[in-house]
């Protein structure tokens, strides 16, 4: 069981510079929990104090939006998760 999580470059300071992290879990939420266990700095990057996914964070599974209820989205072996965030500049 392995799900690759692609980390946005601005967040890689929390993953020792790693671009792709292998995680395990049956849902996006489980994989992100697994990610945070290895890289605790990702907790604050991804989540509010109350555990809710931050508003600006976007989650894609196999290049498809996992919105809404991103954390409940089921994943299986070989799936890839991309974590990115909304851009506002122009």
């Amino acid at each position: 069981m392995s799900i690759k999580v692609h980390i946005h470059k601005t967040h890689r300071q929390s993953t020792d510079g790693k671009e792709v992290v292998k995680t395990a879990g049956n849902s996006v939420g489980e994989c992100l929990k697994n990610l945070v266990e290895t890289y605790p700095g990702m907790q604050d990057v991804l989540f509010e104090k109350n555990g809710k996914l931050r508003n600006l964070i976007e989650v894609y599974v196999n290049h498809e939006s996992a919105y809404p209820d991103e954390l409940k989205k089921a994943v299986k072996d070989g799936d890839e998760i991309h974590l990115t965030f909304m851009l506002a500049g122009g």
């Binding site: 470059k9 601005t10 996914l53 931050r54 508003n55 600006l56 976007e58 894609y60 290049h63 498809e64 939006s65 919105y67 809404p68 991309h82 990115t84 909304m86 851009l87 506002a88 500049g89 122009g90």
Partner: protein
């Protein structure tokens, strides 16, 4: 359909040669009326390329004056323009680039009160804003008026673009989770140059009816790795902006 003059046939010769455009397409461009929301980093390449391509009416709105710190990316404005309104600076450059088109520029803040007035009689809205709240205003206005909305945004070396067709595609609001904190975003001029050019390409394709638009596809560009990644976006049946349109 407006007939092309001899001067226009020569000006647009290289693109009229293209099978996708031809004289018919060029006439469509001449008849098109575009709203460009912002004359900054994105608004510069968008307005320059739409003016050069011969989009017949361009209305561009920006609330700011040209500042020295704008000049690393906002190529519509030059050193001598510092202190001028971006609207005046944009109007002068675009009219000089292509005097055969109609350019209207105004210095005002886009709000929920004036947006329908600003966009009235136009065919499409191009996103060249520097903040998300105004982007959502534009998104909603485009859906309400049943005209397309060409989204673009940048940060650093990165950017993204998506095209929204009311009643057909996901909209910018379909993934909304709530407000996000505003930041003074870092950016290098080549990022809005790439994204603004992609938005202008989408606008031209839409007007002439060629190719495949970025419908339900968020195109994400990373200038550092030179990768384009495409993410599929679904229309949200509960979206507070587009759920009523089918």
């Amino acid at each position: 359909m407006a007939i092309l003059t001899a001067n226009e046939l020569e000006r647009y010769d290289r693109q009229i040669m293209m099978g996708e455009i031809g004289q018919k397409g060029q006439e469509k461009l001449k008849n098109a009326r575009a709203f460009i929301a912002g004359a900054g980093g994105l608004g510069s390449p968008i307005s320059i390329y739409l003016a050069a391509a011969g989009v017949g009416t361009i209305r561009i709105v920006d609330q700011d004056r040209v500042d020295l710190s704008n000049l690393n990316r906002q190529v519509l404005h030059w050193n001598d323009d510092i202190g001028e309104t971006k609207a005046d600076s944009a109007l002068a450059k675009l009219a000089d680039l292509n005097p055969t088109i109609n350019v209207e520029a105004s210095c005002e803040t886009i709000t929920d009160k004036n947006i329908s007035h600003l966009v009235a009689d136009l065919d499409l809205i191009v996103d060249a804003m520097d903040n998300l709240p105004t982007r959502y205003l534009l998104n909603k206005a485009a859906l309400d008026m049943n005209i397309p909305f060409f989204h673009g945004a940048v940060r650093g070396f990165e950017g993204r673009a998506m095209t929204i067709i009311p009643g057909k595609t996901a909209c910018l609001r379909c993934m909304y989770k709530g407000p996000i904190p505003e930041e003074k975003f870092p950016v290098i001029g080549v990022a809005p140059a790439v994204i603004g050019s992609i938005q202008a390409t989408e606008v031209i394709k839409y007007i002439i009816g060629a190719g495949d638009l970025l419908e339900n596809r968020m195109l994400v560009y990373d200038g550092l790795t030179m990768n384009f990644t495409e993410f599929k976006i679904k229309k949200n049946p509960n979206c507070d902006h587009c759920s009523y349109s089918t």
